[in-house]
Symmetry: C2
């Protein structure tokens, strides 16, 4: 079979002999960013068409636990008895999500967060006004609020007034371990989109952007069932195609620490939207940033100490486990061991969790640190030294070295157990196209690329390096809305005369 000519990822309006259909706003990708863009564009009066690569809506969002990072004093936070402010939210995000966090974008996001929560609720996304305060990755039941970034752990709790900002949509009747949040975020939003007349074309894979003689993006070329379809976009194209976590080349080039360990992403996240923007000269940002999950149940983590390959502690074990994942993978050579005693292990295993599959078995036991050091490959005395210092302070319930909260600090006594957590990490990419606060894609010359918008993991959002659960669904939904508003508000370009509007001969789903 002859190799297909590699697509240049963009083409000229002159290259399109026939347009198959026309819309005001064409959205590529029916995940969280795409559906929010579609809703706002439709509400602004635009004729919206979503092109989705798979056979249905949902994207990575539907598979996610569902945290949306919201704050500043949302109705849900208040109902649960927590005070928060946009300023506190901003200070935390700047401290935790950098270095290099975009201050203007974060300020914008925080200022609009409470109203954005209300918008989601008005769209029918359900939230239960109860708080889950135990260690964990997600609420095990259907509670709507949880700490999801380490706000109440060291080092942040002494710097910014802590407030929980992980808002989780409610899946009624959800039992521990069952996924639900992300689906219950997407479904009501898609229902709203469909009720507004947003059309969707499934099994449709975007291949190129089409530019006119003024270098404005005026459409896309896509493929559905092997057949090429050219779609004219009178007002704008929104790229909402997700991250690049599944593109081996891009991961090797930008975030090589993640090679071989993608997670919490879907194979469709192959960076196509980012490359489409690059082909038109788009700016990128923070291409090395990645979320990193740590595959051990936090109810175990908080009850022991983590040590690295030199036998030394490196973090407050009661912080957001995603920070533990990042520290381990990015800064400790992907090497960590949990050292815990019998009581701690038993208590941890008995505690309620949403992630029973992350309850790891003990790897080694020992009556002395020396026995464990040999198993762990540590220099003799290294772990003993760490334990001695830790236990001296733990006897008083304090951890001055890393600031773990007193409720989790207890001396660790023999017999000791160790869980080998080397390599227990995986994640997804956070870098992408650089966009304005109106979700316009920026050209390397500094100006927006006319007609091109983007949101979600196709873009660099609020996370420049650090992560908090919910920031992806958060900036995806928030800036997805902005993309829809901005695209719908753009001055339209007249469609070529041979484009017949909606093409009724081809399969398309209309709500």
């Amino acid at each position: 079979m002859p190799q297909p000519t590699p697509s240049p990822l963009h083409c000229s309006i002159d290259d399109i002999a026939d347009w198959d259909e026309t819309a005001d706003v064409v959205v590529a990708g029916y995940g969280i960013a795409g559906v929010c863009a579609a809703i706002e564009a439709a509400r602004a009066g635009a004729d919206v068409l979503v092109l989705e690569r798979t056979g249905g809506w949902g994207g990575a969002a539907s598979l996610a636990g569902g945290f949306v990072y919201l704050g500043g004093g949302t109705a849900l936070q208040r109902a649960c008895g927590f005070e928060d402010s946009p300023e506190d939210m901003k200070q935390f995000m700047l401290a935790a999500l950098g270095p290099g966090a975009d201050e203007a974008k974060i300020a914008d996001y925080c200022d609009g967060s409470s109203a954005h929560y209300d918008w989601l609720v008005e769209c029918g996304v359900p939230f239960k006004p109860t708080f889950w305060g135990e260690p964990g990755w997600e609420p095990p039941f259907d509670d709507g609020l949880m700490y999801s970034g380490g706000e109440n752990a060291a080092p942040f709790r002494d710097v910014v007034r802590p407030a929980p900002r992980g808002h989780v949509p409610q899946m009624s009747g959800k039992v521990s371990g069952e996924k639900g949040g992300g689906y219950m975020l997407m479904r009501p939003l898609v229902e709203v989109a469909e009720s507004l007349g947003v059309a969707a074309r499934y099994d449709t894979r975007i291949e190129s952007l089409v530019i006119d003689h003024d270098d404005r993006v005026v459409g896309v070329v896509a493929k559905q069932y092997g057949k090429r379809r050219a779609v004219f976009a009178r007002r704008g194209v929104v790229l909402a195609t997700g991250s690049f976590a599944y593109d081996e080349r891009m991961v090797a080039d930008y975030a090589p620490h993640l090679v071989g360990r993608p997670g919490a992403a879907i194979e469709q996240h192959d960076g196509i939207g980012i490359r489409l923007g690059q082909a038109l000269g788009a700016q990128l940002a923070h291409m090395d940033a990645t979320e990193v999950a740590f595959f051990c149940d936090p109810q175990l983590l908080v009850r022991g100490i983590l040590v690295d390959g030199s036998g030394q502690r490196f973090i407050a074990e009661d912080t957001y486990p995603g920070r533990i994942g990042q520290e381990t993978l990015l800064r400790r050579g992907n090497t960590a061991f949990l050292v815990i005693d019998q009581r701690g292990y038993d208590d941890g295993m008995a505690a309620t969790t949403a992630t029973e599959q992350l309850r790891r078995p003990i790897t080694w036991v020992g009556d002395t640190a020396a026995e464990l050091e040999a198993e762990m490959g540590l220099a003799s005395g290294a772990l003993e030294s760490t334990l001695a210092l830790y236990n001296t302070y733990a006897a008083e319930g304090s951890d001055p070295v890393f600031g773990k909260k007193p409720e989790w600090v207890r001396p660790i006594g023999a017999p000791f157990a160790v869980i080998d957590l080397r390599g227990s990490t995986g994640g997804f990419t956070l870098g992408g196209l650089r966009t304005t606060l109106d979700a316009e894609v920026l050209h390397v010359s500094g100006a927006p690329i006319a007609g091109l918008f983007a949101a979600g993991r196709t873009t660099s959002g609020v996370c420049a390096g650090g992560y908090a659960s919910g920031t992806s669904l958060g900036d995806g939904s928030f800036y997805g809305r902005r993309a829809g508003v901005a695209a719908a508000g753009s001055t339209p370009v007249a469609a070529p005369t041979d484009a017949t509007g909606r093409d009724s001969s081809a399969p398309v789903a209309v709500g």
Copy 2:
């Protein structure tokens, strides 16, 4: 004053009314990559014009210490009594310069390294066949060979047979502390280029690339003394304009840990070459990678122990100080303290060094670790714990935790001294355009961008994350040559009839 319209960084051949001159190969930038490209292109019979932004040749290379990372068994290594092989060189580079190091590029570089050394010598670059074996950033005198990457330190020395690969051009009569190596690399090469008829236009700043109707790069638009000059390139354009270390926007977006602390770069390194490539859809790679210098004399570092903000050691202090810089800035929050005793400090201060300006004064002294902990802001007992473990092994001359070599391991005794090294880092960027082994710039679609070549810090070279001194001048010279060969070997495009070849009315320097 009206704001100038932002340049799109590229334009069409149709936009050029008059061409000011024509060459076969146009090289942007007269540093190490540019001069090597010019030499090879001229030797291949091409008519070469170098456009240089400043008033003279040299670039960042002229200001550098001059290390060129070469090995595999160069004549210099052999003359100094060291054995090396391309395979050992490759294994070290893959281990030390990642994660994500380009295996094909490194293999290519290592296979050709010994011959490349010979090429530099034949061009008149002088090297003295003597080895400097003491700790330091550079040889203090005119010795030609030194370890420059940590090859003979932990963890690499037990993994790959160590060999020194930092080849330093000889500046006759050089005294300790006087810069020389980089200048003595550039000067002979520029002389060769000029003798081959390479022309140069100074004070000329590239602004745009010009593409023809086949999307091939056929020239550049530049500015000299405020006047626009359009230069047609029949065979190719080579971008050799250096890194982006001085562009605040790009550093904030790609390598934010370096914000406010650039070093070893020049203000002309504003990423223009990278943006020119991006405007045409070029791939990028490893944009987060940075060299990081550590501002303390290695003769002091090897005689003490380094601890981080939790009072714990984190590296073998006798490794390449650039690795110490990277570990400190990238993984330890830019926080490090050197703990040393009086004898160690006195010996270190008396030892010969090329970097006397990095002999830091003592910040605190104490008779006990406890006194120092208070000054350093460490938890009481943290430093004491670290010292106790270290000294236990140091009494036997060993360091099983981090593998420092026995010659540098001695117990540290009271009275103690501490040098506060927080924030003692700075560096330059290593990421850029992704290129083939022929220095062609790759488009995001996977194909080379016709007519466009690049080398040096405008590109992602052999370093994907880690660094060794000499890899920049190394891959700049090596792939600069490839760029010259490839550009000169490209099928020429006919110059438009109004381009009159070399324009004799404008100031231009011809050797």
